[in-house]
C-alpha cells in the first residue's frame, strides 16, 4: 500500500479538525474537532510504524498513549465546559471574553460571585484546545 494514502488522509483529517476548532461556537463541538485532530495524528503514527517496521513499535505504543491522554483530556475538558456553563449559562466559546481589553473593567461584577476561583480555567482550557 502506498504510504501517501494514510498520510494524505491524516493531513486532511487534521485540517478538518483545525477548521472545526476555529469555526465552531459550541465548546463541546470544539472538543470534538480536537478529537479529530488527535485521531489524524494517531493515523499517521500507525501508518509510519507499519511502514518502518519498527522493532519497538514506538508508533503504536505512542498511539495508545495518545488515546489515553486524549481520553483524559476530554474528561477534564468536559468538566471545564460544564463548569463554565454552570457559571455563565453558556458554553459558547466566543462569549467567554474576559481577557478582552475593553471589557476588562466591568468584569469584577461577576468575578465577585461564585465564578471567582474558576474564571481563569475556561480560558486556559480554550487555549489548550
Amino acid at each position: 500500500m502506498h504510504l501517501a494514502y494514510p498520510a494524505v488522509l491524516a493531513a486532511l483529517l487534521f485540517c478538518v479538525g483545525l477548521y472545526g476548532v476555529l469555526a465552531r461556537r459550541n465548546a463541546i463541538l470544539v472538543l470534538m474537532s480536537v478529537e479529530l485532530m488527535l485521531n489524524a495524528v494517531n493515523l499517521n503514527l500507525v501508518a509510519f510504524d507499519v511502514w518502518l517496521r519498527d522493532a519497538l513499535h514506538a508508533g503504536q505504543a505512542l498511539t495508545l498513549f495518545t488515546i489515553a491522554v486524549a481520553a483524559a483530556e476530554i474528561g477534564i475538558g468536559l468538566a471545564i465546559v460544564l463548569m463554565v456553563h454552570r457559571n455563565r449559562g453558556t458554553s459558547d466559546v466566543d462569549k467567554l471574553r474576559d481577557t478582552a481589553e475593553a471589557a476588562a473593567d466591568d468584569d469584577p461584577t461577576d468575578a465577585d460571585e461564585d465564578a471567582a476561583p474558576d474564571s481563569p480555567a475556561p480560558k486556559a482550557a480554550e487555549a489548550a484546545a
Binding site: L18, R97, A100, E101, A103, K123, E126, A127
Partner: protein
C-alpha cells in the same frame, strides 16, 4: 608673633566671625553683635600693627604651597608692601565703622545676623585681595566679594528695586570677570607664575609676550569691579541696598579692589602704551559723565554713587598716567570721606524720612535735628570738592600733578596724550564735583518749609562713627609728607599750578551752583510742594530707607530724578539734565543692545523648546499610544481569533520554510 602670622590673621578673623555669625545667628542672637564687631576691630588692630611693622619699607613676602597644582603652581602667598598695609588699614577702619553703624542702623532688622556675617565675609574677602601675593588667591577674594555684594545689595529683597539691583550688580561685574579670568591665565602663562613678585620680575625683564592683550583683558575686569565706563551701570542701582553696605562697597572694598589691583600690577599695564591710553580715555569718560549725571540725580545716595564713579575715574586716571602712589592716596582719602558721606546720608534719610533731595529742600530745620551729620557731611563734601586743606584736595592734586607731569612728557611709563586727557578731564570734573557737592549740601541742609519731623537724637553708634571718619577726611592730607615714603614715589605734594587751577575751578563750580540756587529760590513757583516721606518715621533707620527706596518711583515718577523746578542742577545742566538724570541713557542702550536680544533669544529658545523639541517628545509618547490603541483592538478576548492568527502564522512560516528548502535543494 611674626608679622606674617599677624597678616594672616587679618583676613582670617573676619572670616571666622562671619562663619560663627552665620552658624549662631539663629540660635544665639545675643552673640551676633559681638561676633560682628569684635573680629573686625581685632583685624583693624592687627592691620595697624602690620602697617607699623612694615613701615613703608621693603615688602614682606611669605608663601606656602599646599599641594602641587599643575604647570603653573598656586601658592598661599602674602605680598605686603606700603600700598597693601595702608589699604588694609583703610578697609578695616571702614569695615569697623560700618559694623558699628549697622548695629544701630539695622537694629530691628530680622535678617541682621546674616547681614552682619556677610559684611564680615565681604571685609575678609577684600583683605584677602589686599594682602594676597598670588593672583589665584586674589581671585578667590575677588569673586567672594562679587557674591557678597549680590547678597548685600539685595538685602531689602522685598522690594523689586533691590532684587533687580542685586542681579544687575552681579551680572555686570561678572561680565567683567570673565575677561579678567582670561587675562589672569594669559598673564600667568606668559610669566610662568601666579605670584605677583614673579610677574613683576618677568615684566621687568621683558618676559611678557602679549602685554596689550593681557592688560586690556584685565582692564575689563577692573572696569566691572571698579564701576568704570562702560560697566559702571550697576553702581547707581546698587543704591537699593542698605546705606552701610553702600558705604562699605564704595569706600573700601569692592570698587577699590579694581583700582588696587591695577596699582599692584601697574608695570604690567605700563608695558603697553595702548592699555594706558585706554585706561586714560576710560577714566576721562567715566569722570566727566558721572559728574554730569551726579548733578541731575534726586536720590541723595545716587548722587553719591555717581560721585564714587567719578572719584574712581580719578584713581584710574592716576594709574593711566603711571602714578600709583597718587591713585592709592586718592583711594585712601576717598575711602574715608565717601564712607563718611554715605553713613551721613543714612542719618539724613532716617531723619528726613525720604531719600529725595527735592523733598529735603522743602524741609526746614534738618541741620538742627542732626547736627553731627550736618557738620561731618559738610567736612566730607568739602573734601569731595577738593577744597584745601581737606584730604580730598591733597589726593586730587596728587592725581592732577601726575597727569600734568605726564602731559608735559616727564613720565617714562605712559604717553603724554594720556596725561593731557586725564588732566583736562580731571579739571573739568573738579568743577562739576564742586557743583554737585554744593548742590547736595544746599538742597539737603538749606531747605525751606515745614520743619523736619523730630525722631529724637540719633543713636550714638551712628553719630560717633561719623566723627571718627571725619578725622581722616579732615586731616589725611596733612600726612602727605609721610605717605610719600610708603609709596614708591618721590612726592605727593601739590604743585602751585595745579593747586591754583584745581581750587579755582572747584570754587567756580561751587559759586555757580550757589548763584543758581539763590536765583531759583526767590523765583515764583519753584517751591511747590513735592515729595513723600516714610510711613513709619519712628522705625529703625533701615526701614525708613527701605520705604523711601520703594516709594521713590511711585512718588516722583522716576527712580533717579524728580520734577523739581527749584533744582539748581536743572538750571546748570539745561537741556542736558534730562539725559544726565538717566545716566545718559546707557541703561536704555544696554537694554536695547543686550537685554532685548537676549530676551528675544530666550523667547526663541523657549519657542523652539515648547513647540519644536516638545513636539518630538510628545510624538514619542503619542505614537506608541496610537500603536497601542491599534494593537488593543486585536485583543477581542475571543480565543478562537487568537488561535486562528497563531495557526495562520505557523502555516505561513511552515510554507516559507518548505519553499526555502525547496529552492535550496
Amino acid at each position: 608673633m611674626t608679622t606674617t602670622t599677624l597678616a594672616v590673621l587679618v583676613p582670617l578673623l573676619p572670616f571666622l566671625g562671619a562663619v560663627a555669625g552665620l552658624l549662631l545667628g539663629r540660635t544665639a542672637p545675643g552673640f551676633v553683635r559681638p561676633l560682628a564687631i569684635l573680629p573686625t576691630v581685632a583685624a583693624l588692630a592687627l592691620a595697624i600693627t602690620v602697617a607699623v611693622h612694615q613701615g613703608g619699607g621693603k615688602s614682606i613676602d611669605a608663601a606656602t604651597r599646599l599641594t602641587p597644582t599643575g604647570s603653573v603652581p598656586i601658592d598661599l602667598a602674602l605680598h605686603i608692601d606700603g600700598f597693601a598695609a595702608l589699604v588694609a588699614v583703610l578697609v578695616t577702619v571702614v569695615a569697623t565703622c560700618v559694623q558699628v553703624y549697622s548695629t544701630a542702623y539695622l537694629r530691628d532688622d530680622p535678617r541682621y545676623a546674616s547681614y552682619a556675617a556677610l559684611v564680615s565675609l565681604f571685609t575678609s574677602a577684600m583683605l584677602v585681595v589686599v594682602y594676597s601675593g598670588d593672583l589665584m588667591v586674589l581671585l578667590v577674594g575677588w569673586e567672594i566679594m562679587g557674591i557678597c555684594s549680590y547678597f548685600l545689595v539685595g538685602h531689602y529683597w522685598e522690594t523689586p528695586e533691590a532684587r533687580a539691583a542685586s542681579l544687575k550688580a552681579f551680572l555686570v561685574t561678572k561680565l567683567g570677570d570673565v575677561p579678567f579670568l582670561f587675562g589672569l591665565f594669559a598673564l600667568a602663562a606668559d610669566a610662568g607664575t601666579f605670584r605677583i613678585t614673579g610677574i613683576l620680575e618677568a615684566v621687568a625683564t621683558g618676559g611678557l609676550d602679549h602685554p596689550t592683550l593681557i592688560a586690556l583683558l584685565l582692564v575689563a575686569g577692573v572696569a566691572g569691579k571698579s564701576a568704570q565706563f562702560p560697566l559702571h551701570t550697576w553702581l547707581p542701582d546698587a543704591m537699593a541696598g542698605p546705606t552701610p553696605v553702600s558705604a562699605l562697597i564704595h569706600a573700601a572694598t569692592m570698587v577699590a579692589a579694581g583700582v588696587y589691583f591695577v596699582a599692584r600690577l601697574l608695570p604690567v599695564f605700563a608695558a603697553s602704551a595702548a592699555a594706558m591710553t585706554v585706561l586714560a580715555v576710560m577714566a576721562a569718560v567715566t569722570m566727566v559723565g558721572s559728574a554730569l549725571a551726579a548733578l541731575a540725580q534726586d536720590d541723595i545716595k545716587r548722587v553719591l554713587a555717581y560721585s564714587t564713579i567719578g572719584q574712581l575715574g580719578y584713581m584710574t586716571g592716576a594709574l593711566a598716567v603711571g602714578d600709583r602712589g597718587a591713585a592709592v592716596f586718592h583711594l585712601l582719602s576717598h575711602g574715608a570721606f565717601k564712607a563718611l558721606l554715605f553713613l551721613g546720608a543714612g542719618v539724613i534719610i532716617h531723619a528726613a524720612g525720604t531719600n529725595s533731595l527735592a523733598a529735603m529742600s522743602r524741609m526746614g530745620d534738618l541741620p538742627k535735628r542732626i547736627p553731627d551729620a550736618y557738620w561731618t557731611m559738610t567736612i566730607a563734601l568739602l573734601a569731595l570738592a577738593a577744597i584745601p586743606p581737606f584730604a580730598g584736595f591733597f589726593s586730587k592734586e596728587a592725581v592732577l600733578v601726575a597727569a600734568e607731569h605726564t602731559a608735559l612728557g616727564d613720565s617714562a611709563t605712559s604717553p603724554s596724550g594720556a596725561g593731557w586727557i586725564v588732566l583736562i578731564a580731571g579739571l573739568l570734573t573738579a568743577l562739576l564735583t564742586a557743583a554737585y557737592a554744593t548742590r547736595l549740601w544746599l538742597l539737603a541742609f538749606r531747605g525751606r518749609g515745614p520743619a523736619a519731623p523730630d525722631h529724637g537724637k540719633q543713636p550714638l553708634a551712628m553719630s560717633a562713627v561719623l566723627w571718627v571718619l571725619a578725622v581722616p577726611s579732615l586731616a589725611l592730607g596733612l600726612a602727605v609728607g609721610q605717605l610719600a615714603g610708603w609709596f614708591d614715589v618721590t612726592s605727593l605734594t601739590p604743585s602751585v599750578t595745579t593747586a591754583v587751577l584745581g581750587t579755582g575751578v572747584a570754587l567756580v563750580g561751587g559759586i555757580m551752583t550757589y548763584a543758581s540756587w539763590r536765583a531759583l529760590r526767590y523765583k515764583a513757583g519753584t517751591n511747590i510742594p513735592l515729595g513723600a516721606v516714610a510711613a513709619h518715621p519712628d522705625a529703625d533707620p533701615a526701614t525708613s530707607e527701605e520705604e523711601a527706596i520703594a516709594t521713590h518711583q511711585a512718588a516722583y515718577g522716576d527712580i533717579a530724578s524728580a520734577p523739581d523746578p527749584g533744582d539748581p542742577g536743572r538750571l546748570l545742566l539745561g537741556p542736558l539734565h534730562r539725559h544726565a538724570a538717566t545716566g545718559f541713557h546707557l541703561d536704555a542702550l544696554y537694554a536695547a543692545l543686550f537685554v532685548r536680544p537676549v530676551k528675544g533669544a530666550a523667547e526663541l529658545v523657549r519657542f523652539l523648546d515648547r513647540e519644536v523639541v516638545d513636539t518630538y517628545v510628545r510624538a514619542a509618547g503619542t505614537l506608541p499610544r496610537w500603536l497601542g490603541i491599534a494593537v488593543r483592538r486585536a485583543q477581542t478576548g475571543n480565543v478562537q481569533t487568537y488561535l486562528a492568527a497563531l495557526l495562520a502564522g505557523s502555516v505561513v512560516l511552515a510554507i516559507a520554510a518548505v519553499l526555502v528548502a525547496a529552492v535550496g535543494a
